[in-house]
């Protein structure tokens, strides 16, 4: 018998702090698998966010630089401009990417910054205890939208990925989901392509991953993954929004 699936080398052999059924841990693993497979450990640098994933450096066995809330893309820009031959990626949550860091994100994308952003959208602020995020669904109850998100009060779920897809500096923009093993495999493929796009110097690449937060959604992991597929994917359709390589093929 041969091993067909094992824990990636770049994922430190320690238990993580994420809640049971958290999407972060899946995405961490996918990234580490890719770092191993693509032999990137010696030239990859990760900028995790402020949020649950701030502790990513406890799990990633490659270089990691902390960021202030929302500043990931600016710090990544500094890294990339200083070391153009390195692979730089930000790992950001919905608050980090789409609320406090919207300006940094949009402008990095618009400059065609040759960096990659992994944007984990779970429609809620996890680390601070389940407050409303810009991506919170209409009607979704959070600790700061106890009556459910109302568009007339809190506005609409922000689709930052669609926004970024309109920018000429963005080369590869895609939304994926963790809802089942097939979609997780798609997510891995998307992240791989995003890194390849960066290495090709084509511009900004963004992978939005719809990810469950069972704890703050107050459901079981099983139910959370079902919700992901049944509700979130309706509001946030998965698929490739922009792919510069596809254009070239035509």
């Amino acid at each position: 018998m041969k091993i067909v699936y094992t824990r990636p080398k770049c994922l430190k052999p320690v238990p993580n702090h994420y809640c049971p059924g958290c999407g972060h841990s899946i995405i961490h693993r996918l990234i580490c698998e890719l770092v191993d497979e693509m032999n990137m450990r010696g030239r990859i640098i990760c900028i995790p966010p402020a949020g649950c994933a701030v502790l990513a450096y406890n799990y990633f066995d490659f270089d990691v630089c902390e960021s202030a809330h929302g500043r990931g893309c600016a710090i990544a820009t500094g890294f990339k401009r200083a070391q153009p031959d390195r692979i730089i990626f930000t790992y950001q949550g919905d608050g980090d990417m789409a609320a406090i860091g919207t300006a940094e994100t949009l402008h990095a994308a618009n400059r065609g910054e040759k960096i990659t952003s992994i944007f984990v959208n779970n429609a809620v602020y996890g680390m601070t205890g389940g407050q409303m995020a810009p991506t919170t669904m209409i009607g979704q109850k959070t600790t700061t939208s106890p009556y459910g998100r109302r568009t007339e009060v809190e506005g609409y779920p922000l689709k930052i990925t669609e926004l970024i897809a309109t920018l000429p500096g963005a080369a590869y923009v895609v939304r994926t989901s963790l809802a089942n093993p097939a979609k997780i495999r798609e997510t891995k493929k998307a992240i791989k392509k995003a890194f390849e796009v960066q290495m090709a110097g084509a511009g900004y690449s963004l992978v939005e991953v719809l990810s469950p937060c069972p704890t703050n959604w107050k459901v079981s992991p099983r139910e959370a993954f079902a919700y992901l597929e049944e509700k979130m994917e309706k509001e946030y359709p998965i698929g490739v929004m922009k792919d510069y390589t596809a254009k070239k093929d035509k």
């Binding site: 450990r41 010696g42 030239r43 990859i44 640098i45 900028i47 701030v54 502790l55 450096y57 990633f60 066995d61 490659f62 270089d63 990691v64 630089c65 902390e66 960021s67 202030a68 500043r71 893309c73 600016a74 710090i75 990544a76 820009t77 500094g78 890294f79 990339k80 401009r81 200083a82 070391q83 390195r86 692979i87 300006a103 940094e104 949009l106 402008h107």
Partner: protein, 348 residues
């Protein structure tokens, strides 16, 4: 050479190869100069989308091992405070220039010294200090800019150069020398990919209070070392002075002119000019307090540095204050008149 150009050139010659900034008057000549020169020397110039983004780009470049800087003016520096706190916490070297303008709020674009508290008290959140240099002459601005990159690297700290609109706009002849030889320890903390080495982490999140406390004390030991090694000041005719003016930056230039006038009228007046605002040249002032009868602090603000002077003097000698906030730049005669008034009043 114009102040802002001298600053830019010194940075380039100090090996600064990354500049990130956002336009704000009265310091726009710095990014303009850097945008031209960085291209020539193969460095990075990038106009960020905001002050906040710019200082974080500096952070990224510093964590890459590059000499990096940003420049701004008062309202912009307020926005950079988050980044300053992080740079201090992460112990990353960087140079930040504040061409102080009138405030609070938008204020005006005239020279002011209203940001003294913000600069010397950190400005950002948390328990940190940051060296602050206040040059008064274009040559000194050039020299200090060059030096501040070394100080930043030697102590792994952000360093602020605090000038004002006058310092930036003024044109004075200067001598453009190369960077003096300063040995910088190897940067074994930078992130450049974990090729054939253990992975590295740059972080400031320390959830355990005991560990956080230890980190704070570690930083404090570094600040104590800086407080011991970095103070700089200039003394002018202080030896027999009965009245000593204390002023920095542009205010000190004016005060020097006033001292000369007073001296020509036979009044024994001197000037102490702090060049580092943090660490504050306390010892120099303490020593003068043994000789002089009265300190007169002159600032282009309503009185901020005077707090530090009083702390240094420890009540041994009276400290008076004269200030012109809001961007008003007085002439030496005006200060000379104030000197005369105190001279008579206090029967010196």
């Amino acid at each position: 050479m114009k102040g802002t150009d001298a600053l830019g050139e010194a940075a380039i010659r100090a090996g600064c190869r990354c500049y990130f900034g956002y336009p704000i008057t009265p310091q726009n000549e710095v990014p303009e100069y850097m945008s031209r020169r960085m291209q020539e020397v193969g460095g990075v110039f990038l106009q960020g989308e905001s002050e906040i983004a710019s200082i974080n780009m500096v952070l990224g470049a510093a964590a890459s091992g590059m000499r990096a800087m940003t420049s701004s003016s008062s309202p912009g520096i307020s926005l950079k405070q988050e980044g300053l706190s992080f740079l201090a916490a992460l112990e990353l070297p960087a140079v930040i220039v504040n061409i102080n303008r009138g405030g609070p709020g938008l204020g005006n674009i005239a020279p002011s010294q209203g940001d003294y508290y913000q600069a010397t008290r950190g400005g950002g959140h948390g328990d940190y200090r940051m060296p602050v240099y206040a040059p008064a002459y274009v040559q000194e601005l050039y020299d200090i800019t060059m030096k501040s990159f070394d100080v930043a690297d030697l102590y792994r700290t952000p360093v602020m150069i605090l000038g004002d609109g006058m310092m930036g706009q003024i044109v004075e002849p200067i001598y453009l020398h190369e960077r003096p030889d300063v040995e910088i320890p190897p940067k074994d903390y930078i992130l450049d990919g974990a090729e054939n080495r253990p992975s590295r982490i740059i972080k400031s999140l320390i959830l355990d209070p005991v560990e956080m406390e230890e980190h704070n004390w570690k930083l404090k030991r570094k600040y104590d070392l800086m407080a011991h090694e970095l103070p700089e000041w200039e003394e002018f005719m202080t030896n027999d002075a009965k009245l000593t003016i204390i002023a920095y930056g542009t205010a000190a230039r004016i005060a020097k002119g006033a001292v000369k006038r007073a001296r020509s009228e036979g009044l024994k007046v001197g000037l102490l000019r702090p060049i580092t605002l943090w660490p504050f040249p306390e010892e120099a002032i303490r020593n003068l307090a043994k000789k002089t009868k009265l300190f007169l602090v002159f600032e282009m603000s309503t009185g901020q540095m005077i707090d530090d002077v009083r702390l240094a003097v420890e009540g041994k000698v009276p400290c008076e204050f004269y200030g012109r906030p809001g961007g008003v730049v007085p002439i030496p005669q005006e200060i000379a008149r104030i000197i005369e008034r105190y001279w008579l009043q206090k029967e010196l």
